[in-house]
Amino acid sequence: MRRLGLGGWVGLSLVLAFVLIAIAAPWLYPGDPQDRVGRALIWPFEDPALPFGTDRLGRDLAAGIAHGTRVSLLVGFAAAAAAITIGVVVGSLAGYLGGLIDDALMRLTDTVQTIPGFVLALALVAVLGAGVGTVILAIAVSSWTGTARIVRAEVSSWRERDLVLACRAMGMGHGEILFRQILPNIAAPVIVLASVVVAVAILVESALSFLGFGDPSLISWGAMVAEGRGLLRRAWYVAAVPGAAIVVVVVAISLAGDALTRALDPRRG
């Protein structure tokens, strides 16, 4: 087994745990997590059946966290997948083809990059209406630029190597050179970036929900934090429990991304 390191194991285990919770949420906490289960503001560990306690309306925070995991992970992974795909396509075309196409694609990247991502997300949600799809789209169109830049730089440096000349001399097509020979070599920085984009997407989704721009029909960690905001003095745990969930999942994804980079490099491990 290749070395993942302690951080890698912790990160991967936590990500796996969150994924399992997200899948199992409907069985663990059947019914609507927004339903009242007991009296309001039961503190955590007061009632063994309600480990994270209840909020102002008597809703089970643990059920909210479990169901909120579904939204956070769905948005995080879907947005990151879309952003990475756009970034890899734009970056490889620019880096491999060079010339005018490179200039055009990179100016487009510059333009998108100058728009603050969160403001763009807010604007898109305001125009298209709140919904998970809109949030994913908004995060994807604002966070592919970093990937595009890194992929372009890596591809154009690989393009200059003798490896590409050797492939061309043997008559290999451009598509195969790019996809089979070059891109596997730049998987490592892209995986790191992907983990960052997933983490950022989860944060942006939380922030949008916190501000009330999330999907109103789904429970979300950001909305739960917003819920607890008014109770910070009386019952700080109402905001702290979903807040901690956000922190833990983001740190776990970063650790896992870091470890995967190391594990996927054949020159190490």
Partner: protein, 329 residues
Amino acid sequence: MPEPLLRLQGVKKSYPSPAGPVQAVRGVDLTLEAGERLALVGESGCGKSSLARLILRLADVDAGEIWFEGVNIIQMSDRALRPFRPRLQMVFQDPVAALNPRRTVFQAIEDPLRVHQRPDRAATVARLLAEVGLEAGLGQRYPHELSGGQKQRVGLARALALDPALLIADEPVSALDVSVRAQVINLLGAACRNRGLSLLFIGHDLAVVRHLADRIAVMHLGEIVELAPRARFWTGAAHPYAQALLAAVPATTPAEAAAKTPFVLQGDLPSAVAPPAGCSFHTRCPHAEPRCRTIPPPIVQLAADHWARCHLLTPGAGTPSLGSGGPAP
């Protein structure tokens, strides 16, 4: 006279640079017969590697013709060129840069076979590994697990995979430890002999090409300045630049050392952006005369198969001590 395997005619190539176009190749004429081994020598920056890339159509010429197996490959599209690709293969200088760190030795050697849809690839790869002296078990290794010499053997096996007619080796041992250079050179020579392969060996070290080449071409600043069979070159190199390169080869016997004339080049290779007028070597030539600074030197035939590009070999104000003298142009 039958068409040679490879014939270059007036090949020119320049690359843009901030200072102006770099004239990498300035009109090269060269032929290579089937089964012949030709060494192209010259110092770094003289255009040898550029010429190799032009022959492989990895870059396009500005002017001139490149005939391979009777076809001018200059005008061919990438698609039309594809069937010719297997006939012309190359070994690169730095095997680290020429191999994919994420593909195993087996995959690297199989790549050309796969691209051209050859059958029995596993058996062919096994045969190639044996031919270049690598154990079959190395097939599953990655390049970073191999030594420099082993990596270059993989590079050679990959170039031989498609059974080429012409192999271009661009400084194939310069990046290797001195201790393994001879092995790779011998392997290259053996592969050429056994397969009846033509070789264009590009190098800067005459000591390396000494036992490998049938003919030697000396390149200086984008031009071939002397072309001679090996034995003739070793004893009767006519161009002062070729003599300087020869003088830089360490003597192997006391008799050789005694016969050697000390001759060290002064200064660097002139800029290829603004090559010197007249003879491109006049800035460093110890025998330069006034006409060398203004008039481009003629190509002088010294024997049936021996040419040099130098004023001093023609009757005139020159010093006739340099060469045997040739017919006046």
